[in-house]
């Protein structure tokens, strides 16, 4: 008789994003191997797992096989985890188990001494978790592959017999694979996590991948992560797409004419893309929306990759949009950065920090086309896809501007770097030659959950802002509204 598979018990790591990838956490009472090259964050992962346990009723023992206990404490403190206090409270024990290499070796030996020490601490603090950092250092003393394997299986059995959830870390090559002589570690562990620290396009990036997980499903992609101020932060994409908030009520764009074209305005909590070549007025249009939102008392975070805050404010003033009052009332926060100043992961965590602190209703990214300078098209895609997903999850309106080259302004370019599926509305701005004049025209290419005008509307940018010389008409197609995507409004 087939028995319905039961999910194995898991221990949440409480590492941001990792539990989603692991579908709940690490296997309870089992062994997890975390391997990675220098600087990949193996120790941080182990420490974070230990500290989150210690603070939620699961004391743990940290076995430092390479570093001094004091170095481990300092390392943890830089992430905001006070190990010394946890040790004092009897929630954490650090075992400094470094070999000195001065010992004479004569005949066969084993690691019972270490087990006795660790076992004593486990008993003393009633530990439920054990982290052994730099296991490869311990194995090296055996200098014999067969012995290494035997001792490791002994250690593994010993930990499992005591019902301990344990994380073993080991050094790996740059590509993230453990050195071939330690391959058996992969076979032994129930869950294997690879941490990879590499350089792509001159920008350092970190990637995490779950290689195996006995008895459980897991996210199989490579996930970017950063070592932030409070530990490891992962950006899984898998779940974000399922948790998007429904589009909210319509809000004014700040332009009566554009509101009319959009049958009342833009849906809040949606993602709006403003696309056009240089000089068409993308930033002006975005700023008009920002100004209107701040006047309504809503908060806006403006991420500018194109120009400094001062330059942007001055330029907008000459186009009739004064963002000064919004800044002074602290409803507008402008965060500027050169795209190439840091990796896309760091840009993301910087934006997320600002969002967490400021709690805006709307976020503007100006311009997504500049994001390619974060390193590569892939890096820009990762950044934007994750940012937009997180914004949608939190019901924050997202306004993106995208600069296109008028020479190849194909439809492909309309949605920017290939993520049209998350974009709810597209406003296209372009230059047209009419006789001897260059004019600007605006077209709503798409507007999910709303009717919209299908006409190209001429507009001008004056010292009073964007103006429509001919009064825009509300969409003719109202009767054709399908109601798809909850379009009733």
């Amino acid at each position: 008789m087939r028995v319905k598979g039961r999910a194995i018990p898991k221990v949440p790591t409480q590492i941001a994003g990792l539990d989603e990838v692991l579908e709940g956490g690490l296997p309870r009472g089992r062994t997890t191997l975390a391997s990675g090259g220098p600087g990949s964050g193996k120790t941080v992962l182990g420490l974070e797992f230990l500290c989150s346990g210690a603070m939620s009723g699961e004391p743990g023992v940290f076995v430092a096989l390479e570093e001094r206990a004091e170095a481990v404490r300092q390392n943890a403190l830089s992430m905001g985890w006070d190990l010394a206090a946890l040790e004092k409270a009897g929630k954490v024990a650090i075992v400094e188990a470094r070999m000195f290499g001065e010992e004479v070796v004569s005949g066969d030996f084993d690691i019972h001494g270490l087990l006795a020490i660790v076992g004593g601490h486990i008993k003393r603090i009633k530990a439920r978790r054990v982290v052994m950092d730099a296991l490869d250092v311990l194995l090296r003393i055996f200098n014999d592959p067969r012995r290494e394997r035997n001792e490791l299986y002994r250690l593994h059995e010993w930990l499992i017999d005591r019902g301990l959830t344990n994380v073993l870390t080991a050094k790996a090559h740059r590509e993230g694979d453990v050195a071939s002589q330690y391959e058996f570690l992969d076979f032994m562990a129930d869950c294997v996590i690879r941490l990879d620290h590499r350089v792509i396009g001159q920008v350092a990036t970190r990637r995490l991948r779950v290689v195996k997980y006995r008895g459980s499903g897991f996210g199989t992609n490579e996930y970017p992560y950063v070592i932030g101020r409070h530990g490891i932060v992962l950006f899984p994409l898998t779940k974000a797409e399922l948790a998007h908030q429904p589009l909210g009520p319509k809000v004014s764009t700040g332009l009566a004419g554009l509101d009319a074209m959009l049958d009342g305005g833009l849906r809040s909590s949606s993602c709006i893309l403003i696309t056009g070549s240089s000089g068409t007025g993308k930033t002006t249009l975005a700023s008009t929306f920002v100004q209107a939102a701040c006047r309504r008392g809503e908060k806006v975070l403006y991420l500018s990759f194109e120009e400094s805050k001062e330059a942007m404010i001055t330029a907008m003033q000459s186009a009739g949009v004064d963002l000064g009052p919004a800044l002074r009332s602290k409803r507008l926060v402008v965060q500027t950065a050169l795209p190439e100043a840091m990796g896309s992961d760091d840009h993301l965590i910087r934006a997320l920090d600002a969002i967490a602190a400021f709690k805006p209703s709307h976020v503007t990214v100006d311009a997504i086309s500049a994001c390619i300078r974060m390193g590569s098209e892939q890096a820009a895609f990762d950044y934007l896809m994750r940012l937009v997903s997180i914004l949608k999850e939190r019901g924050i309106t997202c306004i993106l501007t995208n600069q296109i080259n008028p020479m190849d302004g194909s439809d492909e370019e309309l949605s920017g770097i290939g993520f049209s599926s998350v974009v709810d509305a597209v406003i296209q701005l372009r230059f047209v030659e009419i006789g001897a004049e260059i004019n600007r025209q605006m077209l709503i290419v798409k507007s999910r959950g709303s009717a919209h005008s299908n006409r190209r509307q001429s507009y001008v940018i004056t010292s009073r802002g964007i103006e429509f010389p001919d009064h825009p008409q509300p969409p003719l197609a109202r009767v054709f509204r399908t109601g798809r995507k909850g379009g009733a409004n």
Binding site: V104, F109, I111, G113, A116, I117
Partner: protein
């Protein structure tokens, strides 16, 4: 003289040239018994009447293991005469142990 009450020694004044040897073991496994018999044999050969062996079972006395940072068992620590020496393993390479304990020719 072989005692299993650990670490009481050192309080008593000993004659110069007296060897104080601490053997850290884990239970009564083959490595433990082998190390102890090897050590006894060596002391009989070279140190008649001027040695003390203390055996410490790290499974029972983990405090001592912590204090001495004994990760590997068996581990023999020569506490006196100085300098202190640590020898890992079941001591089956007797010549290596002799050299390390400064018991090689001329020393006996």
């Amino acid at each position: 003289m072989i005692r299993s009450t650990p670490l009481a020694a050192g309080k008593k004044k000993r004659k110069q040239g007296h060897y104080l040897l601490r053997l850290f073991m884990a239970g009564n496994g083959p490595n433990s018994t082998r190390a102890l018999s090897n050590l006894r044999e060596l002391c009989r050969q070279h140190l008649k009447g001027r040695f003390t062996i203390e055996t410490i079972d790290v499974v029972k006395n983990f405090d001592a293991a912590v204090r001495e940072n004994i990760l590997i068992t068996p581990a023999l620590v020569l506490e006196a005469p100085l300098p202190r020496v640590v020898i890992l393993g079941n001591l089956s390479h007797l010549q290596k142990v002799r050299l390390a304990l400064r018991l090689a020719e001329g020393a006996s």
